[in-house]
């Protein structure tokens, strides 16, 4: 199981980082073509937006994998270990349901509906953008399943991420 998790982590880290770098390069290129070449690029903005949707979706699945979502720990901090464990199970089951119902099922529906809609600049079917939802939902589903089966002690550095 740990192997599955590590493979998924590596995959998402690589893909997200790659999208990240390409997005930065694209925005810099957009500034360059407008200010230096005086020839504004017409495709970059849409490209970056679609990249952002994919990056965000995969990143939020990754967050579930790392258990670094934000929560209010006012009460749960004072729970004993057994109750903390129960709470953790409920959390992971909710993630599981959210991933399956909203992201995979709802996302798939949204993708089918938007396949006939063509983006203005890149002329790309919008369904390819919406595809990010069911795909990320699939990752999230596997992660929350692993979290359920593996318990909390296996990935320590969980809890709060930087956030804001």
């Amino acid at each position: 199981m740990e192997k599955i998790r590590m493979t998924l982590d590596k995959l998402l880290e690589l893909v997200c980082s790659a999208i990240f770098v390409v997005m930065i390069a694209t925005v810099l290129y957009q500034i360059f073509t407008r200010t230096v070449l005086n020839n504004p690029n017409t495709l970059t903005e849409e490209f970056v937006r679609f990249g952002l949707v994919w990056l965000s979706m995969l990143a939020l699945a990754y967050v579930v994998g790392k258990r670094s979502h934000m929560s209010v720990t006012l009460l749960s901090d004072n729970l004993n270990e057994a109750n903390q464990r129960k709470l953790e199970i409920v959390v992971q089951v909710l993630f599981l349901i959210f991933a399956a119902v909203i992201m995979v099922y709802g996302g798939w529906k949204a993708m089918s509906v938007t396949m006939g809609q063509i983006s203005p600049s890149l002329s790309l079917p919008m369904g390819y953008v919406y595809l990010a939802v069911p795909v990320a939902g699939g990752f999230m589903f596997i992660y929350s399943l692993l979290n359920l089966l593996q318990g909390k002690e296996l990935n320590e550095n969980a809890e709060e991420s930087g956030g804001m």
Binding site: P40, T42, E45, Q117, I118
Partner: protein, 316 residues
């Protein structure tokens, strides 16, 4: 909010109408549509409104209409381009020679029925159009009289291939940009000019930074009211007929109030910001964008529609 007729709410069929931010006359016309439906059906059908983009932007509203989350929305014809190529024809600069030509086409069922029904496969159809006037350039550092005045200017356009191509053909540099950053960008000279109807001047406040509005009137893109397919099944024959009639009547209403509102907007733009309006000889502009006409004329998808629309021009 909840429907506007609590008394009949028991039995009344409630239809949902959501729209993005709009000028007052257009909002009034959308409300008139609902009022007419209620009146014609003796309150059997009522319309509930979700104003000001509360439910999302135009594209989202179209998608919601598609899936039945809402029953009606009113969007710019250009927002519909992504859903049906037919609507792209309205973005062609000077596809209409004049306002009369525009109305003649819009009132021609032979042209418009085809366009309205072109999205039937996607789950929604067009009902009627609203006039949203003409779009012209407005600039920070002076009026535009000939395409020469646009040379080297950075001009904000919507994310549309046709709009980008148009500005290029007129000699400017198109900068596609979301509407939220236009004001600041005009002010900081990131762009020199943008294009829109008169409501951008006072209502959207751009007149505070761009004082010259030049009537080159390059496009007239209609607003379109669209309806989810299931409405037809949920209403009986008379009720459905009432919806269709109300749509047409609301268009007549809109045309009358829209013109007044434009005049009012111009007055207040002059009073508040000292906007300078100037008339433009459009002939050289029309000539400059002819390559775009050639593209649409010779394109398989558009050629028939293009010819039908241009045929009305020759009638005049």
């Amino acid at each position: 909010g909840c429907g506007n007729s609590e008394a009949s709410a028991e039995e009344a069929i409630v239809l949902r109408y959501a729209y993005a931010s709009n000028s007052q006359p257009v909002i009034d016309s959308m409300k008139e549509f609902g009022r007419l439906i209620e009146e014609k059906t003796d309150g059997e059908v009522v319309v509930e409104y979700f104003p000001d983009g509360q439910l999302g932007g135009e594209t989202e509203l179209i998608e919601l209409t598609q899936t039945g989350g809402i029953d009606f929305t009113k969007v710019s014809g250009s927002a519909l381009e992504s859903f049906s190529k037919d609507y792209s024809i309205f973005g062609v600069p000077y596809i209409f020679d004049s306002e009369e030509h525009f109305y003649a086409v819009m009132e021609d069922p032979e042209i418009m029925e085809g366009i309205y029904n072109s999205t039937a496969d996607l789950g929604f159809v067009g009902l009627t159009y609203y006039d949203s006037g003409q779009r012209s350039f407005y600039m920070t550092d002076g009026p535009i009289n000939t395409p020469e005045d646009l040379k080297g200017k950075k001009i904000r356009v919507m994310q549309s291939e046709t709009a980008i191509k148009m500005v290029e053909l007129l000699g400017g540099s198109p900068v596609p940009m979301g509407s939220g950053e236009v004001y600041t960008s005009l002010q900081s000279n990131l762009i020199d000019s943008a294009e829109n109807n008169e409501f951008v001047l006072y209502t959207a406040g751009h007149g505070g930074v761009a004082k010259y509005y030049s009537y080159d009137a390059h496009t007239r893109v209609p607003d379109v009211v669209i309806m989810n397919d299931s409405v037809k099944e949920r209403l009986n024959e008379d009720q459905y007929k009432a919806v269709l009639e109300a749509a047409k009547e609301s268009t007549e209403y809109e045309k009358s109030v829209f013109k007044e509102a434009v005049e009012k907007e111009k007055e207040i733009a002059v009073a508040e910001y000292g906007i300078v309006f100037n008339e433009v000889d459009i002939a050289p502009f029309q000539a400059a964008v002819q390559p775009l006409h050639e593209i649409f004329k010779n394109n398989e998808t558009y050629s028939e529609l293009y010819q039908m629309i241009r045929a009305h021009a020759e009638e005049e």
